[in-house]
């Protein structure tokens, strides 16, 4: 059974930390959810119902990053974060895969405006609230560079 928010304060012994990417509103008892959660005997259906309900506000099938904490008493909690920065960058640049030779060949370009928009979206994430927009932008630019996406002032 899913743990409620009040258990978050309690220090329960943790069994495992599971990270997955699940499409918003479309969690099903199938990979990736099935094998990852089933192995720990977690209530898959409850997770799917809960995750789907909580991600109704996102565009359907957006790949959300989920971090689940499975406790030794078979309860679990999870946190939903927005898609990875690399996903946003690929979407903005209109590409499917990152460059295979970043630093040598760039496959696309984005403007600072794109970076700013992504930073604003990311700042809404529970774990990024404390980061300044500038720090987020720098991090995003770094990720873009590692993917072979060039950031320019204007396109």
């Amino acid at each position: 059974m899913a743990a409620t928010l009040k258990d978050a304060a309690a220090r329960k012994p943790v069994l495992a930390t599971i990270r997955l990417i699940v499409p918003a509103g479309a969690a099903r008892p199938a990979p990736p959810v099935g094998p990852a959660l089933g192995f720990y005997r977690l209530n898959l259906m409850a997770f799917c119902k809960d995750f789907n309900a909580r991600t109704q506000k996102y565009k359907a099938d957006t790949p959300m990053q989920v971090t689940l904490t499975a406790y030794k008493d078979s309860t679990f909690e999870f946190v939903v974060k927005s898609p990875s920065v690399s996903w946003f960058l690929k979407k903005a640049a209109g590409i499917e895969t990152a460059s295979s030779r970043p630093g040598h060949s760039n496959i696309s370009s984005l403007t600072l405006r794109h970076v700013y928009e992504i930073a604003k979206l990311k700042q809404a994430d529970p774990f990024c609230k404390h980061m300044s927009l500038e720090a987020l932008c720098k991090s995003i630019i770094g990720t873009a560079n590692s993917m072979g996406i060039e950031i320019v002032k204007d396109l």
Partner: protein, 406 residues
Amino acid sequence: MLPSLVRASHAPLRRLISSFSSPRALSPRLPYVISSGGAGSLPPLILPLCAFSSPSRDSACGSSRGAQRGMGFCARAVDVSDEAPSTSAAAGYDLSAPYLSVRIRCLKQDAEVLSEALLCFGATSVTVDDIADAGNLDEISITSIYADGEDVNSSVSSAASSAGLNYSPVYEISVGKQCDWVATMQETYEPTEVADGLWVVPKWGTPPDPQATNIIINPGLAFGAGEHPTTKLCLHFLLEVIKGGEHVLDYGTGTGVLGIAALKMGAAVATGIDIDPQAIISASENLLLNGLHPNQMPVYLVSTSAQPSSLPNPVDESGENKLINNLDLESSRGTYDVVAANILLNPLLELVEDIVGYAKAGGIVAVSGILVEQVPKVKQIYSTYLDSILVSEMDGWACLQGTRRV
């Protein structure tokens, strides 16, 4: 924390690449043991030491569906205009389909960064055990799952270098089958007392109170095993409104638990509809488990399109039977005494006319699968169609009911 995909320097990457291309230069810390765990249909995965192109992609083409599902998220993620419905709803479920499970050892301090990197490079899930390994306490095991046919080697090496690791993590690949985790999942269900004298009991369990009304459910891969607050809220609703002889519609039937419960409470007929073929299979089985006849509880697979049509769906695949069934369903619009829809916020909002349309004038409609914070939106839309709206809550979930305006 944002994963930093910036490589600390290019040197480690070059070293890794050169060690892959020449078997003799291969670091002795990178042996891999491949065990094929119980998947008789797959030839053993033999990966030559210098491989980048994975032969597993060629030989393990058994479940293209599995690979599709794994890749599906990536492909869908990029295509902004892609509005195709989830393929898993349309396809049946292949329990013998294999998937790849990779056990990787790395330093504890690198676990988190490596996990995030693995997800970026094709892993569908990454689990970090907190079970301390007997050996080196600085090390930790990560289990990463991949869709069948993925190139695990390049994924792990790309992830390792992206995470800035200055060593090559040791890893081991094994093959699992979907039925492994499905079986484990089934074991988690226990009999649940939903209300005084009303229990929902899993198929293999014994009813703790043989005198009570016991609904036997084999959960399978559908929703509705009785323990979820929304199922309980809907069952309480049914207890309240079923007096005997009603025609009930279970909209989004899942395991069929609500329809079956209504019949056990005295309803005359319960109809179950769902967009998921798994639900149809599950509900059909469950009604038999409860000693019911399919005539008492017809179950229909419906399309995901929101627009109700007066004609049967022209793209029906399974031919005549389905057309006839849908005709029956269409002609039952506006006749139900009770409609219960335990689904999700967005479908509830989009399909309000469809859902309420099934109820007769003055019939009672209940919707759930919504969080308490989502109630205002639902109330706003449904108050155009329903009177005397009541909301009940349990554990952060809510159920909203009302009577269809005449």
